[in-house]
Symmetry: C2
Subunit: 394 residues, 2 copies
């Protein structure tokens, strides 16, 4: 059993109308100037941005705004934010949006607080941040878990490189306001893509080849069952508050570290494989993960079929059989069947990509950093392995 | 579904030999003088205290010590600690021990940081603390969850009043060092009493009469199953590292707020009933809870038999039957059967108390604050109800 550290300092304020407390929360902390960072039109047209602004004004909190964050958030917007924050002496970043907006905030926070280097170095992992501006979030998409996590992912348009930052507690948000109602207006595809992302944050930590903790395993399995059950409800009833709430809280718990206690970091190969899809083809992150997961799972499960068999029986009630591999495969099939039931892709074609052999090779070449690194720990994957998984997913 | 806040800023460092990091951790934070607070001889004779001192000395951290904390920790020791800290300008409190030592630290921390009032007022709940000295813990007993919690319990020898403090995030420890090996030397009775305490911290939050969150329910059920399974292992194999580790981590998670997300605070009647036993008769907290729980459960279950039936089927695989009350009662019986299997009492006689009618009446009189308050939310209990429960447990 592995040692671990667990540190989740983010204060969570969960429930209806909680976003109206934003101004009061910021006033408590005495910040001088806040940057409200957001994405596209939905935050504006829904009236959410105006409510947040009013909340800050009522509390006497000074702010400026910067919108325009896109899915797979861009380094150019991060640089724009850094410059603006410096010019305006911003000392707090408020993300109003989903994972893209939060991740953009985290990168801006790193950039402003570490003037001694270029922010992209934290994503190339050639430098380690020494500080970060404090961040708060008003979450509108249950998916990324970035509202409590210690990482962020940014896409550099120069080469379309999608890269995760060095993991650091410095970027964990100070507070996370979770109002499930703010997710009602999401398109179904994004809602379900978010559910897959939440499942994957749990599965990346679950599928390891070491002796894990029972309590972590059973919490992870409970969390995944909750997401699967409620993702199905949201297909028919997207305005179901309880289902939205279950998924939203599962999203935060899946990525704040709880599901990784004793799992020595987790696997993360699927995330690495998806980052190349997101960088080059701008697909929805969760959908990209769904399109790859089954192919990854079938490629690696023989390393530890017992683990996949446990997954199959505990999550999907697959009967335990003496043929462990059969049980393992039935679990993979059951997860893919779930993906299909919520209209998520289980291969790249269903994701909308028809890739040539050259394009597949290019993905593997990029994901392996030009054949210089391996990914994954459940099974270590080199460039050839990556290419085979992308091909199997085609 | 209820709104909630969740805030667990304590940094957990979990695993073998982690206590040797104490000095380095304190040095990072630049504290000037640390009070090492501990209990009786076991911390000394086991060599633990010397290891902690060496760790601080190696890191160049200045400290003083104060031992002698007893189970059901006393206000007089708290006052001694406050005076010592003031005299020596202590700015950090390090608890080396279990819940009693940690709670004593929390009370000292409140006392030192709030010179404007007497510390006992925070336990009478007539005042609210405005600050607390920072606290770190090296845990030696898996039980109280105080290493991550926002509360503490102190016994005032003047009247033998055992009272919980106002709940406040101010007293949540800065760090918690959890090395399961430090619990190896505990007597079996204390180990199993600790397991009951952990279960009760979860059950107090679980047994509520409102619509709860599925994810909280299933995490709580997973946690309780882990504790029950491993408590049984520890009866036969007290040196089993994995079982010690599962129980230790469950102890922290059971009381850091996770199992209460969406349960609006929980019930806590059993804890209130037990506090009178602990205050007057100095019994082990967990054993006292075990002695009362069944009688409480049978007294209240009809308020919401479905909840007890869920508990029965999900925890103990009791078959769901059309007769909900029968299922509910089977669950209560199964928990008591577990208590017996780990040699915990299921009534006051087995706890070692032979109480007269007058003594029972006295317990209820004190627990109801002289017939001026009710306790519990699953079913609100007045003095008469309390007396009936104590009687049923006799």
């Amino acid at each position: 059993m592995r040692s671990f550290e667990y540190y989740t300092p983010t204060k969570v304020i969960f429930g209806k109308d909680t976003h109206l407390k934003t101004g009061a929360l910021l006033k408590e902390k005495n910040y001088k100037k806040v940057l409200i960072h957001y994405g596209g039109n939905s935050a504006v047209s829904s009236g959410l941005l105006d409510e947040i602004k009013s909340s800050l004004e009522d509390a006497g909190v000074s702010y400026i705004t910067l919108g325009g964050v896109v899915p797979n958030p861009r380094l150019s917007k991060v640089r724009e934010g850094i410059e603006l924050c410096r010019k305006e002496n911003v000392d707090f970043l408020l993300a109003v949006g989903g994972g893209s907006v939060i991740d953009s905030c985290k990168a801006i926070g790193y950039g402003v607080a570490n003037p001694w280097t270029d922010v992209w170095n934290f994503f190339l992992k050639t430098e380690t941040p020494k500080a970060c501006l404090p961040i708060g979030t008003v979450l509108t998409i249950a998916a990324s878990g970035s509202e409590m996590s210690n990482s962020c992912v940014i896409t550099n348009e120069d080469g379309w490189l999608k890269r995760g930052s060095v993991k650091s507690d410095l970027c964990r948000p100070v507070f996370a306001i979770l109002n499930p109602r703010l997710t009602y207006t999401l398109p179904q595809y994004q809602t379900e893509s978010g559910c897959v992302d939440i499942l994957m944050h749990t599965m990346e930590r679950y599928f390891v080849n070491i002796e894990t903790m029972e309590i972590t395993d059973s919490i992870s399995e409970a969390l995944m069952q909750t997401v699967i059950y409620n993702a199905r409800i949201l297909m028919k009833d997207p305005g179901n508050y309880n289902a939205r709430a279950e998924v939203m809280w599962a999203g935060s718990l899946s990525h704040n570290g709880l599901t990784g206690c004793g799992t020595a970091g987790g696997d993360w190969a699927c995330h690495q494989l998806e980052h190349e899809l997101g960088g080059l083809y701008d697909v929805a992150h969760g959908a990209g993960l769904a399109a790859l997961w089954g192919s990854w799972a079938r490629y690696v499960y023989k390393e530890n079929p017992e683990r996949f068999a446990q997954f199959a029986t505990n999550l999907f009630d697959v009967p335990w059989s003496a043929d462990i591999e059969k049980t393992a495969l039935a679990g993979i099939e059951a997860m893919e069947e779930f993906f299909r039931s919520v209209e998520m892709p289980t291969n790249l074609r269903e994701l909308g990509l028809n890739l040539s052999d050259e394009q597949i090779h290019e993905l593997a070449f990029r994901c392996s950093f030009e054949d210089t690194r391996t990914i994954g720990v459940f099974k270590q994957l080199n460039m050839k392995d990556m290419e085979k998984i992308y091909l199997a997913a085609r």
